[in-house]
């Protein structure tokens, strides 16, 4: 059994595929957000800002990548991952607020323990908000970060 390194050309293809998948996730998310009219208040604009930041990060890595540009892209991606986590929380919070509106729990919601309420909100047993939907932003960000791992522009530094 031999161990060898992956040829640089194949690594380059893998990087481009990761970036392409990130771009696809971003495009799909943009359409989904537009269909949901996800722009009523400031909090709902956060994923749009995140998509903008991801677009910048993607461009930094895909076009003339250099150590500094890749470092900036990674920082931007970490910010988007944080925004994604906030999105997951906000969706759970929305579902939590909707708990008393659900006829199955309208009489019992107030008497339920806080843990029980939040569990039902997090598992979407109550409320209409898709809990993990904003996770796609983190996925795209991780894809961009993955495309920079062991990047020649960084190794040359």
């Amino acid at each position: 059994m031999t161990t060898g390194t992956i040829p640089g050309e194949e690594v380059g293809i893998a990087r481009r595929l990761l970036l392409a998948l990130a771009a696809l996730a971003m495009a799909g998310t943009s359409v989904e957000l537009a269909l949901e009219r996800h722009w009523d208040d400031f909090v709902k604009l956060i994923p749009w800002f995140a998509l903008g930041v991801l677009a910048v990060a993607l461009a930094l890595v895909a076009y003339r990548p250099a150590a500094r540009r890749i470092a900036i892209a990674r920082v931007l991606c970490v910010l988007v991952i944080a925004a994604s986590a906030i999105g997951v929380y906000k969706h759970i919070e929305e579902n939590h607020k909707a708990g008393p509106l659900d006829y199955r729990y309208s009489e019992t919601w107030e008497s339920m323990s806080s843990a029980e309420q939040w569990w039902k909100a997090a598992t979407k047993a109550v409320g209409p908000a898709p809990v993990l939907a904003s996770g796609v932003l983190a996925q795209a960000a991780l894809g961009i970060i993955a495309a920079t791992v062991g990047h020649p522009a960084v190794r040359r530094r």
């Binding site: 009523d40 607020k97 909707a98 008393p100 509106l101 659900d102 006829y103 309208s106 109550v126 209409p128």
Partner: protein
């Protein structure tokens, strides 16, 4: 027997007086007894007393009518403030009025051609509300 009859007559007169006062307050037509000492007057007074007894039921009906009138007081689905929406929903007896007001505000704007508010109905249905709640909310709203 005579003192008993006098006491009965006095009671009837008293009831008649009370009835007359309350009916005057409510603005209804009144028929004052013309001869306190006559048997006819006593009978009229007894009828007045009976009318007084039915007053709570009449008041309840009036209150229900007032509530229904309030429930049909509509506010603009597109332009009312959240406080106005909440007040209208509370008047209509919709539970969790503040949260429903928030949701109605969130899904704006509503098309003026969507007279049945299909869009809003669809959005609110996602919250799994009790039967009739969405109908009550829509009944409280007007377009634009």
């Amino acid at each position: 027997m005579k003192p008993l009859a006098l006491a009965a007559l006095a009671g009837a007169l008293l009831l008649s007086a009370c009835s007359d006062t309350s009916r005057s307050d409510s603005g209804a037509a009144t028929t004052a007894p013309t001869s306190a000492g006559s048997a006819t007057s006593g009978a009229t007074s007894a009828a007045s007393a009976a009318a007084t007894a039915t007053k709570p039921a009449a008041s309840a009906t009036a209150a229900a009518t007032a509530a229904a009138t309030q429930a049909t007081t509509k506010v603009s689905a597109n332009n009312a403030t959240r406080a106005q929406l909440q007040a209208a929903f509370e008047a209509a007896g919709i539970p969790n009025a503040s949260q429903w007001a928030r949701e109605v505000e969130e899904y704006r704007p509503y098309s003026t051609t969507d007279t049945n508010m299909t869009k809003l109905r669809g959005e609110l249905a996602k919250y799994n509300p009790a039967a009739g709640v969405v109908d009550k909310i829509v009944a409280t709203l007007s377009l634009p």
